[in-house]
């Protein structure tokens, strides 16, 4: 078994190890989970180093390539008669998403340190879910991809249903069903592409060498994009996300907003745009329009929220809009921005949900007007919250700025197959959200943390514990590192983005914007 397989299987093995421990040793269970995810983080770091060394040399060569170059490939025939392989590997985009997921699950395990009810089942489900996520990011066989995709979605039902708060059963069911309808659309498109290619293989890389008939692309592309869009909270299919995030327990919100929603953007780019470039050109402007609504609507939605979790959830809808906006802009800048935004939003929103969980654990309220002056009693949490907030409103120096500037430039400078005036107009409308985001972030943070302490119970509250400091500190550090030194991160992904752009280019006339 190679490196990539280990990256996929390690969380599952950890889940199995947890399963072996009797449920009453819940303290041992969380240590096992932490060890497993910690080992995963180290393995990811090691893989990243190796990957870097290999991939950075390939950047010049990839500039003209139309075929994604994979590293650490493993391929085993699975269902031979149907051309299904166990085919996993890494390219820059996968690598960045794996780093994101590995960080979030480690921080999430730390943030779930106080789950005392049915701890064993909680960690088993959490780790199973994360196995699915890693599988999606590293598989390059459509069947395998789809399989992991559903494994990543389903445990969410029980995680929210059992450990959630508020109208948890409603939220869990809504989330599961909406995401499953999305995956139904993906399934239809996937099978249509498989049979249309005539290659008798589910190998994504080989399927992307075919020029599909325009009639097929026209209807399959929106299937894919909407299917993944549901998971990426594309307007108007985002409604599961605020309810789901608000009801979910801390670590699940972190994983879900931080990582799972990224599967949507990832799939939209990797599968929808890459396989069907002509369909993408045809539908690009339409989806840019939808994602513009996403961005603006999400930010206005966040202004209106009183509950911290709903607040963050709506801000996630807005920020995930940037991801799909970047994808729909269909040029090098846009794609790059989309991926950096996936990473930065993942870390940022993970940080937010972790902090909200910690604050809620102390104040037992998530209603913003009920809180005030908390910075005096919990300075660490307040500082982290501010860092997250600044990153979220796109302050230079944090990853969010790098991402948003890329996305907006991508949208503004456009490409030569979509109406430039329309693209510019949409981009300008989308930039409104920067202002709105600043309003709600600053106002929200000021209410919760600044001013005098409004409730005398709050005087007795304590600051972050060691595990909490570790968890949030890791996330804050990541945000800053990517913000200050984005070029390392861009080096990681850039070589892998060229094929997407070049395939678009090859299928029509397009000048990539550099």
């Amino acid at each position: 078994m190679g490196l990539v397989s280990w990256l996929i299987i390690l969380p599952f093995l950890t889940a199995m190890a947890v399963l072996m421990v009797p449920a009453k040793n819940w303290k041992a269970i969380r240590w096992i989970s932490l060890t497993g995810t910690g080992m995963h983080l180290m393995l990811t770091a090691f893989t990243t180093m190796k990957f870097w060394a290999l991939a950075s040399q390939d950047i010049p060569a990839m500039k003209t390539a139309t075929m994604t170059k994979l590293y650490f490939v493993e391929r085993v025939t699975w269902f031979q008669t149907l051309g299904i392989d166990y085919f996993v590997g890494l390219d820059g985009i996968s690598m960045s998403m794996v780093i994101l997921t590995s960080i979030i699950i480690f921080a999430g395990t730390l943030a779930s340190w106080n789950v005392e009810e049915r701890t064993k089942e909680f960690f088993v489900l959490l780790l199973t879910l994360v196995t699915g996520v890693f599988g999606v990011f590293m598989s390059f066989d459509l069947f395998l991809f789809f399989m992991f995709y559903e494994v990543a979605v389903l445990p969410m039902y029980l995680l929210i249903g059992i450990w959630g708060t508020g109208p948890k059963e409603y939220a869990a069911m809504k989330l599961t069903l909406m995401l499953m309808v999305g995956s139904a659309l993906i399934l239809v498109g996937m099978l249509a592409v498989y049979h249309a290619s005539g290659l008798h293989t589910f190998d994504l890389i080989r399927l992307a060498t075919v020029n599909y008939p325009a009639s097929l692309q026209t209807w399959v592309f929106p299937m894919f994009f909407l299917g993944f869009g549901v998971l990426g909270a594309l307007y108007p299919f985002h409604t599961w996300s605020p309810d789901g995030h608000a009801s979910a327990p801390t670590a699940v919100s972190m994983l879900h907003a931080g990582v799972l929603m990224k599967l949507g953007g990832y799939g939209a780019l990797r599968i929808a745009v890459y396989l069907l470039p002509e369909g993408a050109k045809e539908w690009g402007l339409f989806f840019m329009g939808l994602t513009t609504i996403n961005i603006v609507y999400g930010s206005f939605g966040a202004i209106m929220q009183k509950d911290l979790k709903y607040f963050t959830a709506y801000s996630s809808v807005s920020h995930c809009g940037f991801v799909l906006f970047g994808v729909a802009a269909m040029n090098l800048m846009g794609f790059k921005g989309a991926i950096i935004q996936m990473f930065s939003h993942g870390i940022m929103t993970g940080l937010f949900f972790a902090l909200i969980g910690m604050v809620y654990g102390r104040t037992h309220t998530r209603i913003i007007p009920d809180m005030g002056g908390l910075a005096k009693v919990m300075p660490w949490l307040a500082v982290c919250f501010y860092v997250g907030g600044m990153a979220s409103l796109g302050l230079p120096g944090f990853a969010g700025f790098v991402a948003e500037s890329h996305v907006f430039m991508g949208g503004f400078f456009g490409n030569n197959f979509m109406n430039p005036v329309a693209m510019k107009t949409l981009t300008i409308i989308a930039t409104v959200s920067i202002v709105v985001t600043a309003v709600y972030v600053l106002r929200g943070l000021a209410t919760v943390f600044q001013g005098p302490i409004t409730n005398h119970h709050f005087h007795e509250l304590t600051d972050a514990t060691l595990t909490e400091k570790l968890s949030t500190g890791l996330l804050v550090a990541t945000l800053a590192v990517v913000g200050f030194m984005p070029w390392y991160f861009i080096d990681l992904i850039e070589a892998s983005i060229f094929p997407f752009v070049n395939r678009l280019q090859a299928s029509g006339t397009m000048v990539a914007f550099h």
Binding site: F79, T81, E150, V151, I162, T176, M180, A184, L187, H195
Partner: protein
């Protein structure tokens, strides 16, 4: 000896009736063992004769690769059903009044039905086909009414009347086929029949008769009543073996008799499939009795199953056989839990499963795996099976049908999650306590659950089915 498995089954059935006469009441537990031993022996014979194919009685009885697989499926379904029945008939029962009487006859009648299904797969002319179908069906009427309470008798009667109606349809269709061609042999009919209005009338009649067996819309109505009224193990048997027999009948008729016209019959089949899965799924949402619920779930599964007939794809046959295998294992795993629970507590309502995960975590896990597999959640075999079937529909160009089927899977997930929610999320009821499980049932449950997971991941099963049956139907369509 091509007929050895069938003869073993019939011999075992007679042996059971005779031994039953001489056994003292408290020794009768041995009868279940005899029945299972007989089925195991037949299973051994079947597996042993795999490479063999050939015919008897001037071609009226024949064995080939697809026949062989069907027999394997029937035997497997019966074996598991018998293991589940033993729990109800001889198990350590809390609710004594739920117990069934006359065990020896019960097993014997079930074996007769099994023999009928096996002959059905081997039948090669109209008379053998029809007689073996009735041999498979009539014992099921009796078994349905076995409990002799109002509900059971009522459902038995309904089953007889509607079953007779379906047989009438089928007979009419088969009669017309004979009239059109003057042939009794199925393949001879297939070779000489030409499309004509009468032929399509006959095809419609035959399809109606098959639809009844397979519970396809609009001939599915009997299923809910009968499944609810019948004793739980009989429901389990009905939901798998009767459906597999329906599929075998469909193979006989559609490929052997109508193979040349199958392409033209694709649209009606596609609409039938779409309606069946949609109606089954929508009706399942509102059910409260778990056996009724499983009836509608089974109806929708039949809708997915017939996707394999679309477009004369060579992958259709292995896909359908594989899905049938998956369905048998999965559904029987779910039914093992249902039988056990209603046997131990007398409860059959979905709300009454609340908190099961807290008191019997392993049983609840098995149930959850079975339900997820039925809903088509990866990496369980139900997903793989469905995926292959959807792929056939997509290949045939029925993209809208794939969409309908995939959305239906989502709807089905909704109602399967209702049970999972009761078991896992709802708090434990006051009267809920850990229940004991008999070793036979525990082993059955463990094996079916593991198989549900394994045959989706290990490609060997599908590859074997595929290698043996992929070109089977070519002679019938060219």
């Amino acid at each position: 000896m091509l007929m050895l498995p069938e003869l073993t089954i019939i011999g075992t059935a007679f042996l059971l009736i005779i031994v039953d006469l001489f056994l003292h009441e408290h020794r009768k537990a041995v009868l279940g063992g005899i029945a299972m031993a007989g089925v195991l022996l037949a299973l051994g014979f079947t597996i042993g004769m795999m490479p063999q194919s050939g015919e008897l009685f001037g071609g009226r009885f024949a064995v080939d690769s697809v026949t062989w697989w069907f027999k394997l499926l029937f035997l497997l379904a019966s074996l598991i059903t018998l293991a589940i029945s033993i729990d109800l008939l001889d198990g350590r029962i809390d609710a004594k009044h739920m117990a069934l009487q006359a065990r020896g006859e019960y097993y014997a009648i079930m074996l007769f039905s099994l023999a009928g299904a096996m002959y059905l797969a081997s039948a090669r002319d109209l008379v053998t086909l029809y007689v073996s179908l009735e041999l498979a069906t009539i014992p099921l009427y009796i078994l349905t009414a076995w409990k002799r309470d109002t509900l059971s008798s009522e459902s038995g009667l309904k089953y007889v009347i509607l079953g007779a109606l379906a047989s009438a349809f089928l007979l009419y269709g088969l009669g017309l086929m004979f009239g059109l061609t003057g042939e009794m042999n199925l393949e001879a009919i297939g070779r000489s029949v030409t499309p004509s209005p009468t032929f399509w009338l006959a095809a419609a009649m035959v399809t109606a008769g098959i639809s009844f067996k397979l519970t396809l819309f609009p001939f599915h109505m009997w299923a809910a009543e009968v499944y609810q009224g019948a004793p739980a193990p009989v429901t389990a048997y009905l939901s798998v073996a009767s459906k597999a027999a329906g599929l075998a009948l469909m193979f006989q008729v559609f490929y052997r008799m109508m193979g040349h016209q199958l392409m033209a019959w694709a649209w009606p089949l596609a609409i039938l499939a779409a309606l069946t899965m949609t109606v089954g799924n929508l009706a399942a949402i509102v059910q409260n009795n778990i056996k009724r619920f499983m009836a509608f779930s089974a109806i929708s599964q039949a809708g997915y199953l017939i996707l394999g007939f679309l477009g004369n794809s060579d992958e259709g046959i292995p896909s359908m056989l594989y899905y049938m295998l998956v369905y048998i294992l999965t559904n029987l795993a779910a039914f093992a839990v249902i039988v056990w629970y209603s046997n131990q507590t007398g409860r059959e309502r979905i709300e009454e499963y609340r908190g099961l995960a807290r008191v019997n975590p392993l049983v609840a896990l098995a149930m959850m795996i079975a339900l997820f597999s039925l809903a088509g959640i990866p990496p369980l075999s139900g997903f793989v099976g469905k995926f292959f079937l959807f792929s056939i529909a997509s290949k045939a160009g029925f993209h809208w049908l794939v969409a309908v089927a995939a959305v239906n899977s989502t709807i089905s997930l909704y109602y399967y999650l209702r049970i999972i929610r009761q078991m896992y999320i709802e708090p434990v009821g006051q009267e809920t306590r850990a229940l004991s499980i008999s070793p036979v049932l525990a082993v059955t449950l463990a094996i079916t659950t593991l198989a549900t997971g394994a045959i989706g991941i290990i490609p060997m099963v599908y590859e074997t089915v595929s290698a043996q049956t992929i070109s089977w139907f070519l002679p019938f369509i060219h």
